[in-house]
């Protein structure tokens, strides 16, 4: 019986189906909000779902030069890895996999998901994909530094009184927030939260920072040679990553169990995810133009790292 509940948790509620549904919802809302901010009607909320279905229906062309196994395999591997990441992140009190979710493990799994996309691009053998994957790598280098600093800050802020000095596991962080309120309200964590809000658009490749899939400059960059179901899987990974990152932010800074009543918690959790997505992804998308490669790198290693370092120093000083 326990297995069935476990399977339900893995495959349906906080697992596969819920992630996909939330990913589609968040991406649809994101497009709608961006459109409304640009004073136009914007696509229906379920548009990402129609895009996914349409891509599934299309023919899959495998270029002669591509390495077939890696070309077809890496989209699915990337998606499955991302679902396993989103299962580490507790949502509204539900921890789908009782395996102890650790921030460093999540950091490295997210890196693995981007590596899968890079492998797919490399295996397609197209020069556009080559440029795309080099830009994706530069983007990864640029957002990894602030992301690491934020993780260290949160671990220190939560674990100050613990014997080991730092709590990296998300359950510990949530337990701490249950006792003394969301982390966001303590002054030390505000710069770290701002830094994290900047990291989310670059990690998920949203508009101002999507130097890897710039459709105008390098013809869809990494996905230049993809069509059909592999392309659908990559776009689905892109959508679910938006959900994973915003639910990670909610788990890290806003806590999980708000009222104790499960359905209400889930609703609040969803609304918070939407709010985080709006601030971090929709606003910059509607307002800014795409940055150049070294502008992204320069911006992340000076402004965003400045916020993250300020957070770390504040926490270090024991505020």
């Amino acid at each position: 019986m326990q297995i069935l509940i476990q399977l339900f948790h893995i495959l349906v509620f906080p697992g596969l189906l819920f992630d996909v549904a939330m990913g589609v919802l968040l991406m649809g809302l994101n497009n709608k909000l961006v459109a409304r901010m640009q004073n136009r009607v914007g696509p229906p909320i379920l548009q990402p779902w129609y895009d996914f279905l349409k891509c599934c229906g299309k023919e899959t062309i495998i270029p002669a030069r591509a390495k077939r196994a890696v070309f077809l395999g890496s989209p699915y591997l990337g998606f499955v890895l991302l679902i396993s990441v989103s299962m580490f992140i507790p949502f509204a009190g539900f921890i789908p996999v009782t395996m102890g979710s650790d921030l460093v493990v999540i950091l490295y799994l997210l890196t693995f998901v981007s590596v899968c996309e890079i492998l797919g691009a490399a295996s397609s053998g197209s020069p556009f994909a080559g440029v795309g994957l080099s830009r994706e790598m530069v983007a990864m280098i640029s957002y990894e530094l602030p992301f690491v600093l934020v993780i260290l800050t949160v671990a220190r802020a939560v674990g100050a009184d613990q014997p080991s000095g730092a709590v990296f596991s998300l359950e510990g962080i949530l337990a701490y927030q249950e006792m003394n309120g969301p982390l966001l309200f303590s002054p030390a964590a505000i710069p770290a939260a701002i830094a994290m809000l900047f990291v989310i658009p670059c990690e998920t490749g949203m508009h101002p920072f999507d130097i890897a899939e710039a459709e105008t400059e390098i013809c869809e960059g990494m996905l230049a040679e993809y069509s059909g179901t592999p392309l659908a899987m990559y776009r689905l990974t892109h959508m679910v990553k938006v959900y994973t990152m915003s639910s990670l932010f909610v788990a890290m800074f806003l806590g999980n169990r708000f009222t104790g009543i499960v359905p209400v918690d889930i609703l609040i959790g969803i609304l918070l995810c939407i709010a985080v997505m709006f601030i971090s992804a929709a606003l910059p998308h509607a307002v800014c133009a795409r940055l150049k490669v070294e502008q992204v790198f320069h911006f992340y290693w000076t402004v965003v790292t400045g916020f993250a370092l300020a957070g770390l120093l504040l926490v270090w000083a024991g505020v």
Binding site: V70, F79, M99, M140, E294, F297
Partner: protein, 680 residues
């Protein structure tokens, strides 16, 4: 024959093998290979046999050569001391020696005078094993000398290879600085303590502390860090590894650096037991972190596959030294675990580089590309190695790096010293840069477009791939079962290093005393990470995804089937527009022939004479797809432009001139001496 004699037997079998190959090697090839194979497998079996008593039993083997038992407190003869730490490094050495020997049977078959090669190779392996197992300080110096000289000779084995002699010369000159500083250190210690046996030194040192022993510490530390190619000495590592044959660069980067690490651990944890002093810990961790960061950024720009791997091996050794320098139990076990992982995945990567060189003859990242289709198995092996070194979860690099971050962060919090937080961030950052450079290698060697001249490269023979598969399987095993490896191998080794009393008692006691060797009492409160249960989680989710994928999409027919279906159903091309004719005839949109190439109608698609079906060609915004590989130097443009001043400084600094490198060595020696006198 009880297992007292196993250590000396292992060392002797290697040296004996070297001697026999020198004698009979020239006679016939098969005999020579047989001797080498025997000489290489015996120590491995002996070391594995020793695991049970030493690692799990916790016994410390003290073995006096020539049965010169100690007289009272004074140790006269040379003693072999094998505790869990020595055995751990012994295992690492013998695995690398076994794999490298197996690999060089086929890898070197295109060279000549191979008996010299195998003599030097077995001498090198014997000296490495001797260095690790000996309990006598001067014996360590003797083994270091043999190791350096044979490594120099082997680096220059392919004399005609461009840069081989220069690399070997540099290695000899700067290597000898290291050896002489070790010798000076030993002399200073001997002058104070009148003994050379490490256990006795460890016992006598605490009450003989004066300026001379502090100077000896500085000399010894610098000598060992030269062997480990740490910060000021790392450029020569790149020159030496890049030109040596692949099996030898595996030995240099995988094992010789580990002996430098072993020396530093022995020095700081057992002899002087001063690792917990903040000054010593900061010195060692500082060296480790700086060499880790500088070598990763240097590796970023390399154009040669093996030079890039060389710089990466020094940055990984930097990780190990950082972890070792922390002094906490968690830090030391993280360092040891990463040392073992490093030998495995770095060996695998060097053997892949050797395979690429064997198959295509070139290692230039700018010219290679698209080898995945020609050498699929080597590409798979390379991906396993690259995933392990960049620390992706199911592979072994991840767990040890994670332990290092956790250890350095907690050390920073306990001591309240912000230096360790900076070290932790630098390590995390180097991990991303490692991943970046291996993405660069993957794109410019295996993926991307194949250059016409490498059209007929073939896969390397199976005998070369077996050692690579051994290393790959070990990489995956140590990655998927981290807790077992920690309990069985790394834990006892760390415990042995931490309790110096056990070491002394083991040696000077009744020679086979049952030392303490209790399981390390350090608390391993790493966040829980069960890779096995994570993998079955992956399995469940991937089954669900594949189920949906199979149901959802229309079945994809291959182009030939589709063509056949068209033909059978009579649906063929007969364009009806007035400018057309039936299939096959060249269309003449414009009457004049001129430069313009007429499209030909073939089947259902319009193509051009002599050009492949554009549908399956890469998208070149309409142009005919010709060779234009994006790889090697033109990747990571954004990062390089932002850091161009740093990289220009690095290029000026790594001038490649021997006197510059020796000057850096002397400056480093002066700095360490000054630092030791001031702070220790």
């Amino acid at each position: 024959m009880n297992m007292e004699h196993y250590p000396i037997l292992a060392i002797i079998s290697l040296f004996l093998g070297a001697f026999l190959v020198a004698l009979f090697g020239r006679l016939n090839k098969v005999l020579r290979n047989l001797i080498v194979a025997a000489a290489v497998t015996i120590p491995l079996c002996l070391m594995i046999a020793l695991i049970a008593p030493v690692m799990i039993g916790g016994q410390v083997i003290g073995y006096w050569m020539g049965n010169w038992a100690p007289v009272g407190p004074w140790a006269i003869g040379i003693g072999l001391e094998v505790d869990a730490l020595s055995l751990f490094f012994g295992l690492v050495v013998t695995i690398a020696v076994f794999v490298s020997g197996l690999y060089s049977f086929t890898y070197m078959n295109r060279d000549d005078s191979l008996e010299n090669y195998y003599t030097l190779f077995l001498m090198l392996s014997g000296s490495l094993l001797g260095l690790v197992l000996t309990g006598d300080l001067f014996n360590i110096f003797v083994m270091i000398e043999i190791m350096t000289m044979t490594a120099v000779a082997l680096t220059a084995f392919r004399v005609d290879y461009e840069g081989a002699l220069e690399g070997a010369l540099k290695y000899m000159v700067v290597g000898s600085i290291g050896s002489t500083s070790v010798l000076v250190g030993i002399a200073m210690l001997y002058s104070q303590l009148h003994t050379l046996n490490m256990a006795q030194i460890a016992a006598a040192l605490p009450d003989h502390q004066n300026l001379v022993t502090v100077g000896a510490f500085a000399f010894l530390f610098l000598g060992f860090s030269t062997k480990a190619f740490l910060f000021p000495f790392h450029p020569l590592a790149a020159d030496a590894h890049a030109v040596a044959p692949a099996s030898i660069s595996l030995m240099i980067s995988g094992v010789i650096t580990k002996c430098g690490v072993y020396g530093i651990i022995r020095l700081a944890y057992i002899l002087y037991q001063n690792i917990n002093e903040p000054a010593v810990s900061i010195l060692i961790t500082g060296f480790g972190a700086v060499s880790c960061f500088i070598c990763v950024t240097m590796a970023f720009n390399q154009h040669d596959f093996k030079r890039l791997l060389a710089f990466h091996s020094i940055s990984q050794v930097g990780y190990v030294i950082t972890a070792v320098g922390l002094g906490t139990a968690l830090g030391l076990s993280a360092g040891l675990y990463h040392a073992m992982n490093h030998t495995l995945f770095k060996g695998l990567l060097f053997l892949c580089a050797g395979a690429v060189q064997y198959a295509t003859g070139s290692l230039d990242l700018g010219r290679l590309g698209g080898l995945a289709k020609k050498m699929p198995k080597t590409c798979a092996l390379f991906l396993i190695g690259a995933a392990s070194i960049s620390g992706l979860p199911p592979f072994n690099g991840f767990f040890s790096k994670w332990m290092i971050y956790q250890a350095s962060f907690e050390k920073g919090l306990d001591t309240g010293n912000f230096f360790y937080i900076v070290v932790c961030v630098v390590c995390l950052l180097s991990s991303v840069l490692t991943l970046a450079s291996f993405v660069k290698v993957a794109q410019s060697v295996f993926f991307g477009q194949l250059q016409p001249q490498f059209e007929n490269t073939k896969e390397v023979p199976l005998t070369m791939r077996i050692p690579m598969w051994i290393l790959a399987v070990l990489c995956i095993l140590t990655g998927v079962l981290p807790w077992e490896v920690l309990q069985k191998l790394v834990g006892p080794a760390a415990a042995a290093a931490l309790n110096a009393a056990g070491y002394i008692q083991g040696m000077l006691g009744s020679g086979a005393a049952a030392g303490a060797g209790a399981q390390a009492a350090f608390s391993m409160e790493i966040g829980f990470w069960g890779p096995v249960s994570w993998l079955c989680l992956l399995l469940i989710v991937s089954c669900a995804v594949c189920l949906v994928a199979v149901l959802g999409t229309a079945e994809q027919k291959s182009p030939e089937e589709r063509h056949e279906m068209d033909r059978r159903a009579g649906r063929t091309a007969a364009f009806t527009r007035d400018g057309f004719a039936d299939a096959g005839r060249i269309l003449k949109p414009a009457e004049k022939e001129g430069h313009y190439r007429n499209p030909v109608l073939s089947g259902t698609t319009l193509t051009f004479t002599g050009e492949k079906d554009p549908k399956y060609e890469n998208f070149f915004s309409g142009e005919e797809s010709e060779y234009s590989q994006v790889g090697g130097g033109d990747l990571f443009w954004g990062f390089k432009t932002n850091w161009r001043h740093y990289f220009q400084g690095m290029r000026r600094w790594h001038s490649g001139v021997i006197n510059d490198y020796t000057r850096y060595g002397i400056v480093a020696l002066a700095f360490v001496l000054l630092y030791a006198c001031l702070f220790l």
